[in-house]
């Protein structure tokens, strides 16, 4: 395996009395999409901005593509593409002019046409930035981050505030970046986004990384229960007690014509449920097994929900 593209050791940042980032250590491998997941105020953006050379760490170290962020922040910025949360544009420049301007800031000509094509902005190239929709602006922000063809991209909450379709659209764009061999580090507070996009996820809370692994491994380790959901055909007045006694079942809930069994071993529970179905004791029209999500992982690790 090649060297990690980002190496972070015990990184710290304090704002007054608030420890925004409290000793964070991780590595990011070349070519992966690395997610930092956590609620607002967890220290995700501060961590990212230290790696981008925009904020000076109070302690610890970080190497980005071999460059020390404390020693040469501008050198770091030349090697990375950055999409900042909520950063504005020059409103009355066109999309194409914006790319040319930012390419000039990187000291190179803009591959404008190709970039606009890739980010589905070709037909908007002569439109003022001010007239773009939220999704188009985010795609432009990513285009701006790509003008100098960097191997590593930082995306800070790229899909926040977008409608579901624009979000899916942007997910495709980000997956394309990985396909091109780029490394992407993104923050998000949407667990489904982290689950869908990220090869590995660091879960942050109160300035610390509380867990770091692939989404699947995180779920296996920290939220080992699955849910077996049964769409019941008719009322089953007194069947809850026997259901709760089935192997591996922890909890039984009823909602929306469904019976939901929380289980530590979905295979065993499904076999037991199928046995009941065969002998006619329990009638149901559908059976679904739902895996736990990163939301459950977060709940398990912190005792709180992500968006509280």
């Amino acid at each position: 395996m090649t060297d990690p593209i980002v190496q972070v050791r015990d990184l710290r940042k304090r704002y007054g009395t608030l420890l925004a980032v409290d000793g964070v250590t991780f590595e990011v491998r070349r070519g992966e999409i690395f997610g930092i997941l956590g609620p607002n105020g967890a220290g995700k953006t501060t961590t990212l901005e230290m790696l981008e050379g925009l904020r000076t760490p109070d302690g610890g170290s970080a190497l980005v593509d071999g460059v020390d962020v404390r020693r040469d922040p501008r050198g770091v910025r030349a090697r990375i593409g950055v999409q900042l949360q909520e950063a504005g544009f020059f409103d009355r420049l066109t999309v194409e002019e914006t790319l040319r301007l930012f390419a000039a800031f990187h000291g190179r000509p803009a591959p404008a046409a190709a970039l606009l094509e890739r980010l589905q902005l070709a037909e908007k190239r002569r439109a003022w930035v001010r007239t773009l929709s939220g999704g188009q602006r985010q795609r432009l922000a990513i285009a701006v981050a790509l003008v100098h063809d960097p191997p590593l991209l930082f995306l800070d909450e790229p899909t926040t505030g977008l409608d579901p379709q624009a979000r899916r659209n942007l997910w495709d764009v980000i997956e394309d970046l990985r396909r091109e061999g780029r490394t992407v580090i993104l923050t998000t507070h949407y667990m489904e986004e982290a689950q869908r996009l990220c090869d590995r996820v660091a879960i942050m809370d109160h300035g610390r990384i509380v867990a770091l692994d692939t989404p699947r491994a995180l779920i296996r380790t920290h939220a080992p229960t699955a849910t077996v959901a049964l769409a019941v055909a008719d009322e089953l007045p007194d069947r809850e007690a026997p259901l709760a006694a089935l192997p591996a079942v922890r909890q039984v809930e009823r909602a929306d014509g469904e019976v939901r069994l929380s289980t530590t071993d979905p295979v065993e529970t499904v076999q037991a449920v199928m046995a009941l179905h065969r002998d006619g004791t329990l009638r149901f029209t559908q059976l679904r097994v739902e895996e736990a999500t990163l939301e459950d992982v977060f709940l398990h690790l912190t005792g709180r929900r992500l968006r509280e």
């Binding site: 925009l54 950055v82 900042l84 000039a104 003022w128």
Partner: protein, 371 residues
């Protein structure tokens, strides 16, 4: 260098696409110029309307004829003192002169102040308009000079010294708009920096546009230099349009070298954009920056000799006027534009102006924050 050129070009476009700003940036100075021109610039040059209460003796008649010959005085005959004072109170006269033979018969009356000149011949009483103290003072000075001359003649003393005044704009008489236009141009340069730059940069900071720029490896000098250069360029365009309108509409005349004038405008732009940047570093919001910019700009707008000669201001604030950075710019631009002066006598003032620019940029550089 190519990057710098592109930056300036795009900033330039960005400005000119803001039609409202461009429109007001041109219209405001022009409105100001026409209002001030209408208020103060009637006629070829400054005249003071003086009421003269009709007397009976030959002395009164002689004084009246003498006063009428003074170029800047317009003498209006008054039937009696009461009607003359009424006209003074309504602001139709700047002074009311009462000849000795009438003055001897009546005492000082009314609310207007009075000065007297007692002598063997008689008292020439003068009432002046306290509401227009500056003009009144100037008119009184002229009158005082006139009385001194009259005294010399009456006593038959030969004058030892004679004053010979030469017109200052060569063969051409300086019209009010010729005087006003350079002041308006200098004012426009100041406003673009103090109000324009401070607002724009603070807004870019608040909207995290500056942060987005910071996220690139661009050197701050390229970005800020590009911004300064675009202000220099837009100011030159703006000044050219204002000057053209003034020449075409108000028949203002620029006698000096246009390139020198443009050079002065660029120097002024650098200084006041620097001050605008400094203002932006201590302002959280564009509104706050605007307020602070106005606070600095307004006194200069009215004191620095922009609209009327600084000599009209009380002697007490003359040192303050000399200290304002706009004053040397107004004086140099006026000297070049209206009188065709060489730059040499203005160099110390311009150096002082440049000093302000250096201090402003140091302050801005020290305090500048990208977010």
């Amino acid at each position: 260098m190519r990057a710098f050129g592109l930056t300036v070009l795009l900033f330039f476009k960005h400005y000119f696409r803001d039609r409202t700003s461009v429109f007001w940036g041109l219209l405001f100075p022009l409105i100001l110029m026409s209002l001030i021109g209408v208020a103060f610039g009637r006629g070829e040059s400054v005249t003071f309307t003086v009421g003269f209460v009709r007397g009976t003796g030959p002395l009164a008649e002689g004084l009246r004829r003498g006063l009428a010959e003074v170029p800047v005085l317009r003498v209006v005959d008054e039937a009696d003192e009461a009607t003359a004072l009424e006209a003074l109170r309504r602001g139709r006269r700047i002074l009311v002169v009462v000849p000795p033979d009438v003055a001897g018969r009546s005492g000082p009356a009314g609310t207007a102040g009075a000065v007297g000149n007692t002598g063997p011949v008689g008292t020439l009483r003068v009432y002046f308009d306290q509401a227009r103290l500056q003009d009144a003072r100037t008119a009184l000075l002229i009158l005082d000079r006139f009385v001194a001359e009259a005294n010399l003649r009456l006593t038959g003393t030969a004058p030892l010294l004679r004053l010979e005044a030469a017109p200052v704009a060569g063969a051409r008489r300086l019209r009010f708009f010729d005087f006003l236009l350079p002041g308006i141009l200098a004012l426009t340069v100041m406003n673009s920096g103090l109000q324009g730059t401070s607002w724009v940069v603070t807004e870019y900071r608040q909207r995290l546009v500056l942060k987005r720029v910071l996220a690139t490896p661009v050197h701050p000098a390229l970005f800020l230099g590009g911004l300064v250069a675009r202000y220099a360029a837009t100011n030159l365009v703006q000044l050219a349009v204002i000057a053209l309108v003034a020449v075409w509409l108000f028949r203002a005349v620029i006698v000096g070298n246009l390139l020198v004038l443009a050079g002065l405008a660029v120097l002024g732009t650098l200084v006041f954009v620097g001050m605008g940047l400094a203002v932006s570093t201590v302002s959280r919001t564009p509104e706050a920056a605007n307020l602070l910019g106005s606070l600095l700009g307004f006194p200069m707008m009215f004191l620095a000799g922009t609209f009327w000669p600084r000599e009209f201001m009380p002697a007490a604030i003359q040192p303050l006027i000399s200290a304002l950075p706009l004053t040397p710019l107004v004086e140099a631009m006026r000297g070049v534009a209206a009188r065709g002066d060489a730059l040499t006598p203005y160099l110390p003032g311009l150096l002082y102006l440049a000093g302000w620019g250096v201090v402003a940029f140091l302050l801005a550089g020290w305090r500048f924050r990208w977010e």
